[in-house]
Amino acid sequence: MRFPRRVLLQGSAAGLVALRCGRTALFEDDEPNGSEDMTMPAEGSVRPLVRRAEVLLQSNAGGSPQALALTNPTGEPWEIHEIKFGIRRETDLTSREASAGALIGCRMTWLGKPVTQGFVPVWNFGLAKRAGLEIQTPVRYSPLPSSIYARTSDAYYGWELDHPLYIPPGTTLLPEFKHSGLSPRTYRASILYSGNVLVNAPRPRKVKVPFVSAWQSNFYEALTETGEETSPETVLYNDLGAPWTIERFIGRVALNTSLLADPGGGNATIETIVDDLADGLFAGEMFRVKHYDSLGNIVVRGYAAGNGPPLRSVYGPRGRAWQQRHTLDAEQRHTIVLFKKAAPEGTQYAVVSGGFDSQTIQAVHGAAQISAVGWREELVP
């Protein structure tokens, strides 16, 4: 990976922060997908800066964190290198519902220009570099008299930007969250920006601004339901009026599991979101894909009618991503056809153990969530 000398020479913590940006390779041994350039103004001294904000989201509701909390308080320009999302359940802490990135979508704008095409599930932005660590299970005190400790799980996702995002003084990258409604419970969504303050840096004329678009399929019952659907023309679509350089596709599977009993709330049926480490038979067998673009390029050819390669064999297992830089011209789009096959004969719902006790699964529904993550160039106003 090449970095301009001027950035490498910044030294100390600031230099280290700068080095992190653009590291899109999954591991140290990996070569990044093409050469990296850093066009950001890094002249003069820089210092690291982290800003964070959060918002409470009721089911099916939206909300925006305070923009002021995400703005550089010194009034200097800065550049964002990495964005992190956090999800924490705030109600019914004793239920065994698990958090996952499918629950919360995020929409962002930079100086009024879109960074996302509508709401994008927060786990569809960045590489899952440490997929096993995305879900954390802290133990918290609960006010419930019947339970001293409450068990829940939080979810965390990171997005290392492919290029630093310049933020002019007094502005910021504006996020807006939306609860997907997959859970009836209230969630706290947090967003964190880390980057560098640019001291005495010249204002750049052009910057590379991220752009992400995602498609979510319908939810399908696991065992018997079959189906076929095509991503609509409004997503994975370049409506920027300029070329969109896509760095990767990210494929996730949202599993929505209904249990027969709720250990924290009696016998009521509850909804549980299972993180996609357990996407096994959905991603490897039941979800099949065909993929083409609007120029007629066959990106993924189906095997035969109603069949194609497994989702995970296309949108790879490493980082839940398929890293392939390419350019999508204005008004062009990717189209994904998803086939849902029935589960192989002989399969049945298992008993989920762990937590308070064993639970019988009533139903599992799964949906594919596939995003295209990249950037385009914009003039700084």
Binding site: G132, A278, L281, V299, V300, G308, P309, G316, L328
Partner: protein, 345 residues
Amino acid sequence: MNDSPVCVAGEVDLAAGETRPVSMEALDSAKRDWTEFSELRVLIQPLVQQADGAALSGALQYVESVLGGIIEVKLKSGRHYLTEDFVPAFMLSPTVLRAFEESLQVIFADNANSIQLLPAVHITWGFDRPLICRPGTVLDAEARRPSDTLFADTSLIMPNDIRVTVSMAGKKLAEPPRTSVRCVPYVTAFRPQTPQYPQNQAFANINVGDLALQNPFIRPLYVKRINFRAMANPSNPDPGSAPPRQFDVDSFASDTNRLKLQIWDGLNREVYVKTNQVTQDNLNTPVPFADALMAPQLRSIRVDDVLQPREYYRATMGRYMDQAPTDGVSVVPMISMVGYREEAL
């Protein structure tokens, strides 16, 4: 006209002892397009139930870490081989993270055999240099599932078919490449077929020999890394008794008295023998296999070497038991060499 991403894939179901090509038709690219691939993936998943309605094998719950050792692949692009014969799938690349390699089919069960979880294993081989393919030629792949008498007679213990999906991801080139050579990835692996392991207080070595890690080409081979894996079976391979517990060797590797590793190059220079450990049992105590397996977590060491034609590495993989084994453990250590060479396009 821009480059466009492309992913080709094919799959095949294998019974024990079977060797079959992987849906060749599906692996063909568009006939007129030049393509460039950066990554090959192998997805291995046991099928849930036999067509005859047989129940799931109880052994399945133990195999998730070694499915990549049970299934072997042989890869060829055009007239250039990517593997030296059949190579266990998990020898193609370093381990990335187990979370990436294994995904559980958590919702599916066979309560008769108390199987709650079924494993699927993803192997990803990121090429050090992209593989350029002429129009119409992408990949010829064969998959093999040998009947493994060392661990278990898989036809008896695991009657379930295993589905192997091979996919390759890259891009379709908008224009023909302006180069006359292409870098062709290459893997050669060594897996002992009939290891002689000690039964009591002895040190047994498996010598990889001169051929297994050799550059067989008439041009230089750029070796990027050497990978290590191992499979273990703590119960005797008796199909009539307890099911085989095939799993990764982490637990053995953490015991420095059990698996050792030495590597030399063709001039007998040490590549991987450095150690401070000296015991009375073996004054030239080699590096514990655990070091290669567990640090740096990739089960791989970076080499960045060039092997000239017919040059090779030698390796010795040994196993030491400091007391009489009581569990009849069988361990198969494996080693592979991964790199690329340049071929005329």
